[in-house]
Symmetry: C3
Amino acid sequence: MHRLIVDLYPICRSITGDGMRSSLRMLQSHVPLALREVPSGTQVLDWTVPPEWNVREAFIANDRKERVIDLRNSTLHLVSYSEPVRARLPLAELGTHLHSIPEKPDLIPYRTSYYRRDWGFCLSQKQRESLADGEYEVVIDSSLEPGHLTYGELFLPGDIPDEVLLSVHCCHPSLCNDNLSGMALGTFLAAHLGGLRLRYSYRFLFLPGAIGALTWLALNEDRVHRIHAGLVAACVGDPGPFTYKRTRRGTAEIDRAVEHVLKHSGKPHAVRDFSPTGYDERQYCSPGYDLPVGSLMRTPAGEFPEYHTSADNTDFVRAGALEESLAAYLRTIEVLEHNRVFVNLNPRGEPQLGRRGLYSSTGGYGSTPEEQTALLWVLNFSDGKHTLLDIAERSGMRFGLIRAAAARLQDAGLLREAAPQTAANS
Amino acid sequence: MHRLIVDLYPICRSITGDGMRSSLRMLQSHVPLALREVPSGTQVLDWTVPPEWNVREAFIANDRKERVIDLRNSTLHLVSYSEPVRARLPLAELGTHLHSIPEKPDLIPYRTSYYRRDWGFCLSQKQRESLADGEYEVVIDSSLEPGHLTYGELFLPGDIPDEVLLSVHCCHPSLCNDNLSGMALGTFLAAHLGGLRLRYSYRFLFLPGAIGALTWLALNEDRVHRIHAGLVAACVGDPGPFTYKRTRRGTAEIDRAVEHVLKHSGKPHAVRDFSPTGYDERQYCSPGYDLPVGSLMRTPAGEFPEYHTSADNTDFVRAGALEESLAAYLRTIEVLEHNRVFVNLNPRGEPQLGRRGLYSSTGGYGSTPEEQTALLWVLNFSDGKHTLLDIAERSGMRFGLIRAAAARLQDAGLLREAAPQTAANS
Amino acid sequence: MHRLIVDLYPICRSITGDGMRSSLRMLQSHVPLALREVPSGTQVLDWTVPPEWNVREAFIANDRKERVIDLRNSTLHLVSYSEPVRARLPLAELGTHLHSIPEKPDLIPYRTSYYRRDWGFCLSQKQRESLADGEYEVVIDSSLEPGHLTYGELFLPGDIPDEVLLSVHCCHPSLCNDNLSGMALGTFLAAHLGGLRLRYSYRFLFLPGAIGALTWLALNEDRVHRIHAGLVAACVGDPGPFTYKRTRRGTAEIDRAVEHVLKHSGKPHAVRDFSPTGYDERQYCSPGYDLPVGSLMRTPAGEFPEYHTSADNTDFVRAGALEESLAAYLRTIEVLEHNRVFVNLNPRGEPQLGRRGLYSSTGGYGSTPEEQTALLWVLNFSDGKHTLLDIAERSGMRFGLIRAAAARLQDAGLLREAAPQTAANS
């Protein structure tokens, strides 16, 4: 995953254009992603797909023709969606188009102006202060023309049509945690799941933030109700602890699954309620959809000092953190896949486990192994009302242990699955 | 407010009689209070309006004709509702009619005997101990005769008939926090609201404790159901932190409004559940009515050492505390007045706020101002189910900020009010 | 109770056989217990009543004919349900049938092998280490033959058929806290209740653990629904604080009653949720029954170091602890017996308690006695919905005080009982 991030890092991505296209094509070497092209001007809910933006060159040169700021050095130097400019300006006038962070003098900020025609450059405060008075040549060889919005989509059909959604925003240029980390995790997760037989169907979306999610929702209104659970993957590569942001519903199965996984991770983590700020969970959880989509992150956007600056680079994200994040996503999926309701076929009193080889036959002094206790929990609460996750939560045991106990009891003829749930619900 | 308290202080009030009448007339110079007169003997629920009590003179004189205890020095000296007495008694016999507080030797206690014919004097322990043996002349020139119970009522009609009740007990003689403070706050609150156009109708009751509330309830049974919210104002002038005592229902709108205001006051405060002790919330919250009436106090009755003694004087109540209390009542009313349910007219995905001038158009580095975040909260939770107070609580933001965001969104055509609620409900 | 424990201590009990029979007969000298005999081979739910086990003699003798381990010295020495053996074995082979606790070298463990034919001896680690190499004579003069499972049952009919169940496991040999303490407490509780007129009917079961409860349930399926509340009495004699384990339902009346009693005990105690481990609450709370049966213990089984060893002896249980436990059971029963719903006959405003002699008539300075406050709580919440226990919990007052207030108000004609509840419910 870290290698993929390193490869994606130099590309100048934005919400439309060739940067997005070539990034998604890079992912296609790992997974059979379909690229969707939606024409500029398409009405998507309250929004309109904007003109396609591409840029060939952008720089500021001093009167000695030296390029003091150049897009080639960092994709962050150019305000994303800057309109074309070719001009000579005195420093004072140029200054109104420059963005820097006085309190972080070495870092280049990341800025955008998608929906208001403007142009600008981002640079470090030190670079800014080094600009001598005088005239500067400004060149932005960009185009804002009818074209397409591009996003990637991968659908893995499962046994039932109910879907698990994984959504990743891909519009940021050279920023690693936000969100090349999500792109890498989404890609590797899709590649892994692609090789398995799954109960749920899985949908992976790699799209520009906000406008991409709005576009997908607008084009898939008839399919939206199938989403049984979803996660927005963002900021999953930094070394901080996990943060899970709940769905708007707050107690959806995905919420409980992630919280179970984090609780049993044995590591510090935080869970917070939904808020309408953040990334594309804002769209999925808008009141007209109210989809059960949460967001499993490490340090949330805006809460690490490197956020939206040139310090969110390939050093800031760690292979180990990415791996741990992927594992947490996989364990969450394990819960979703196996979280079923069973019925104890011998509900009056305990069944005699000993004669079925499920229980130690010598009683008295000595503690009961966890595996045997799990059998009792599953038997007692398999009344057709409790899911295995309910039982795991109530017992305080790991889901994996409860799931294994259910399998043993099912094999022994003591348990049957309750009427399967096929309609999307959470 | 403090000046009004100073003016009211010397009057010898009780649950009936001229002390109550002249006190209420003093309030009439601030607000157009109606004085209601209910004849003695009127059956009010399980009670009977008692004879009217008036007193002209009351003293104890020693054998040198010196008045050692005199009602003129403190209205607390006479047990309220003392029957007329003219007698000479030896100290031992007189002592059975004296009340003092051994552990607070300088303070005169406050005592009453409304519903059992009796007489008595209250005095400081020091005064008591200074009484020499011998005979004393006792004079209580009081009358207990058919007359009236008097209370004050002010009704401010609003856009809807649903009422907000403010109830203040006025029967105590020279005790400032309990409850001249409530009388002053109620008067100033009524004067302020009288100048405003209001959604709710407001009813102010200035009445004798217990029997007054019972009388009002008995005479207004057909109107009681209109009370949508209410507060009993008592002990609002001492320097202690706020205490809110919830309604019997516990989660009525008034409960949540007061708790929101206190939470955002940034000051220490306490919230407690309803109990059937206290002041007139006992009557309003009796099970046959169960009205949503709470009590917003500073230090509750019985919980400050000056309570029901001569130390609850004009020094104990503070102008600043009264002002702060009035502000808390006003902020609570702001919540009630503006706590409505809205419907997001663009519920699928977020509407594009930028093109409506509601959102900063330059994205990227930098934090979102609180006002913009408030817009997102209102949009996301305006699903026809959440009130603005729900949204304020869920977001952790001040009600004022949420209310302003709703107004901006309504102006922008993105929000409409849900079907207005006209029937009393909470 | 402690004397009864001392008398029961030496008997070699097991889940069937004469040890159980003679123990139950010892209880019959205190209470008119009926002994039930259920034939071996009877199918009880998923189980079969096992052969009856009796043992006359069991020992290990060394080659000098010295009995190095002898059942006569401790009933724990023999693995319960050991099959008959007469053999000479070298130490190495004998060792596979010996059980000791290396980390507690002085204690003999308690072991059983009810449902798998086996034999064995338990001994202290020190004894084990003192066995010299050589041949040993092993004699277990036991029988495993068709016979009966024996349990004791006592039914105390009350005014209504709804039952309170007290269940005690009696199958352990010389172990005092687990569970001669429960047997003693159950016996004395039954003896005490036998002399009273009671609202509920009471059923006491003294039975072998697991198989006994399963047997009773299997034979009484038509009666099981009458159980309104129940407790499993176990480990009630040790000096530790109380632990209450909730019913599977978690908020049954018995749960709230016990928790109320413990809360007002003024002593440290713990309350834990139901789990499907423990004693016979496992059977009563199996999902096909889901009876409201909790367990009020002192230190739970497995959580004191003496558990299932020879250290759980007559010194470990204390007369004072047993007495305190019995008192807690009795106070719980007081709550169940008197926990009713009343209706305030004067629900609008407070009734005038003073003229009914229920309230101090002199108001003002001074605190209200607890008894008067209790009257107000009962009046305010006797709306046909709240039980007296609800009111006790809400007021924070002891149930006894609330119950007394209700009785006084009923006598004064201010309260009537709501339609009596006769069907089993909780």
